[in-house]
Amino acid sequence: MGIYILPLKNLRRNRLRNLSAVLRIALGVIILLILVSSGLGINSFIKNSGTSNGKILASPQSNQTVTTTNQTNMVSSLVNYLNSFFGSSITENQFLSRLEDLLVNLVYILDGVASVALLVGVLGIMNTMGFNLSDRKREIGLLKSMGFTKNQIFISCTLESGLLGLIGSIIGVIIGTLGIWIISTFLEPGFLTVLLPFWLIPGTVFITTILSLILGLYPAWFTSKIKVEEALCCEY
């Protein structure tokens, strides 16, 4: 037994509070995964649909398939409809160029929303750890009276927030991956795809855990500074 096993043992306590923190992180991770993979899908869609001039859904060339012809017809009729509805006179190329710009911007917006969703989920760690540690003042006093240093207590408390982040991200990645797989099966093949590259899974777990560790630093630092005599006066 050492002080560094305590974070694992402490997960069993304040179960509801820890569970709520883990679920918030998981939700953030799910939103991040879905939005980032949708963004990647849109990017890939733009690239795959592009011709030599880089434009999406460009006019069919001799070796392109019937599907592309159908899509071009669909674009022509859509442009005609829009022109007649708004009284405008945009060409197919102008329409496609604007659509491409819109999709590229959409990718950025999706990435931004995903980052905010993850951050909001992980920010709860600070709150949860703040409450958890203030409940445990006396224990911190006990640990100090056993000769554990400020640094050891600081690391142990930070590890606890990292552990919450790790568990939340793993749950989020599992549910998110399943969600993406389900969404992909409903999308028409060849149309918009949702991509889940392998790097996104460990990347998300890693970033979430690191963020949780960073956000856990303040409550851990605050706790490690508690004076023993004050901490020992606290009751559970």
């Binding site: 037994m1 050492g2 402490n10």
Partner: protein, 217 residues
Amino acid sequence: MNTESILTFEDVSKVYMKGGRKIKALENVSFSLKHGTLNLISGPSGAGKTTLIYLAGLIKEPSNGKIMVKGINTNNLNDNERANLIRDEIGFIFRRFNLLPNLNVLENVMLPMIIRDVGKAKELLEMVGIKEWDRFPRDLSFEEEQKIALARSLVNDPSLILALEPTGELDHEQTTNFIKTLHKISGITLLMTSDNKPLRKFFKRTYQLENGKLKSI
């Protein structure tokens, strides 16, 4: 340097500031504890017993005077040196809430171990009369909790055990059992506080603390 003395107080005073007023918790306290002795400090509530134990356990620093643990002057130690000295040389027993609630008995005893040794932890638990190691603090009586705290305080073979009113929550029979357990452990140097006068007969040296002043009885 007196190596025979485990704990030495030399003219130690402790002053607190409360509401702009100076309160003298301890005044020029001097004493020395020899290796292997059981010592009791008694005195009424508010006499300064807790302050004395906290000073001896390096939890607080004196306003004046010198505190030596095994010949080491503790006045000029930094936080890490202080923590290491506590871990190596001092064991604590408090009045209550000595154990971490999410660890079982064995885990609680092993927590401060410098070198992990399950056998030693079990041996200490057996010595204090605890045989069920997988129970949690919520399932223990006060007496059992104090005995486990005693076992835990011994895991790193400290030179000094500081017990702050360890019998405060125990009835007469439990107190007697606890003191008997203390006597079974050979070679420990104990400094215990209590306002229970009948306990004096169990200790080699007793001190009376009143209004921050210590007298040997």
